[in-house]
């Protein structure tokens, strides 16, 4: 079951890689694979059990898979130090502003939809 799901995931990733080279060089293969798989799920209206099992098993260990790339930061200490204030300030300010804006916008849109529904 697990292997069958994994095979599908690998297959979609490889398909994505092929399409990336052939048609869409600006998109990474795995992302095209993601969109393709999502499209197939939408068309079929459901997800097979092997695929669900493989996806949830793999995604449970996603943080682990991200450790080796994150360790790469040790190679860029100088670049970070050079721009440390720009990084800190832009991370904090843009986070605070976009967090507040997202919450406010979503709530305003939900209320508007609710009012419209009441009227009709």
């Amino acid at each position: 079951m697990l292997l069958r799901g994994l095979t599908w995931l690998v297959l979609f990733q490889l398909l994505g890689t092929a399409l990336s080279v052939l048609l869409l060089p600006m998109l990474p293969g795995p992302i095209i694979g993601l969109v393709l798989l999502f499209g197939v799920c939408l068309l079929r209206g459901e997800i097979g059990e092997p695929l669900q099992l493989a996806a949830s098993s793999l995604l449970r260990y996603l943080p682990l898979l991200l450790v080796p790339p994150a360790v790469g930061v040790m190679a860029y200490v100088a670049a970070i130090q050079a721009d440390i204030w720009a990084i800190v300030v832009s991370l904090v300010i843009s986070l605070v502003l976009s967090l507040a804006f997202t919450g406010w916008l979503m709530q305003a849109l939900i209320r508007r939809q609710a009012r419209r529904r009441e009227r009709t």
Binding site: L6, P30, L66, P69, A79, S90, L91, S98, I110
Partner: protein, 239 residues
């Protein structure tokens, strides 16, 4: 006991291809244990294991390039894991039928604002182009952010760190900030946490309740896909 070749054994161990995988596995489990014991938002497993692995590498005098080659066994799985994100995205789709337009509009508007603000402030503060492009996908879950950063000419490893910092910060200040802005609707709170603070924000949103958590997960995956698809396109159009 001078017959035993301690030096040789030590070199053989740290030079073994599995050494990199071994320290990664061990550090990650230690980090998870520390997080489960303390439940401290600062102790994000990826961040803590990163620090542990770097410490071991420095102690053993191993270069990053060698470690990366040794840990390929793990990183090669990032591709299929990214494809696997389609599954939770699809499972969440059912929930948004009710609030389809608010969700889509918020995603497009607020998602673009979140990305643009980060880039804008970094640029205004005079950061290097390398840092600016790496900051662009900071609101997105790390696998996508790392792929996108690399695609844009930034640094995948740095993107992972920015993503983590954004997520942890968002989870810490998010709930209080939203309360002060009088955002009470659970879907709106979840949307804000998931869209700006990805997985860490989603974990925080799940503690507030089911609806909040579901919308956070939805916002996180939608924002991830939108960034992955449109950010490289936007950049290739403008530059």
């Amino acid at each position: 006991m001078s017959l035993l070749d301690w030096q040789g054994a030590w070199q053989a161990v740290i030079g073994h291809p599995l050494f990199g995988v071994g320290i990664t596995l061990a550090s990650y489990q230690l980090a998870c244990l520390a997080y489960e014991r303390t439940r401290w938002v600062f102790l994000q497993p990826v961040l803590v294991s990163m620090v542990l692995v770097i410490a071991v590498l420095l102690l053993c005098g191993i270069e990053y390039a060698d470690y990366r080659r040794a840990s390929e066994l793990l990183t090669v799985l990032l591709g299929p894991a990214t494809v696997a994100l389609a599954v939770p995205l699809f499972l969440n789709m059912r929930r948004i039928r009710e609030l389809f337009w608010p969700t889509v509009l918020t995603l497009v508007l607020a998602g673009s604002v979140a990305t643009a603000l980060g880039v804008l402030f970094a640029w205004l503060m005079g950061a290097e182009p390398l840092i600016v492009t790496t900051l662009a996908p900071k609101s997105v879950t790390s696998p996508i952010a790392m792929l996108v950063a690399e695609q844009l000419g930034g640094v995948a490893a740095l993107a992972a760190v920015f993503v983590m910092l954004t997520g942890v910060l968002g989870a810490i200040i998010g709930p209080e900030l939203l309360r002060r802005c009088r955002v009470q609707h659970p879907a709106a709170r979840g949307m804000a946490l998931g869209l700006t603070a990805h997985a860490v924000g989603t974990a925080q949103a799940l503690q507030e309740g089911d609806e909040c958590g579901a919308f956070a997960a939805l916002a996180m995956s939608l924002m991830g896909v939108m960034t992955a698809v449109f950010l490289p396109l936007a950049v290739s159009l403008f530059f």
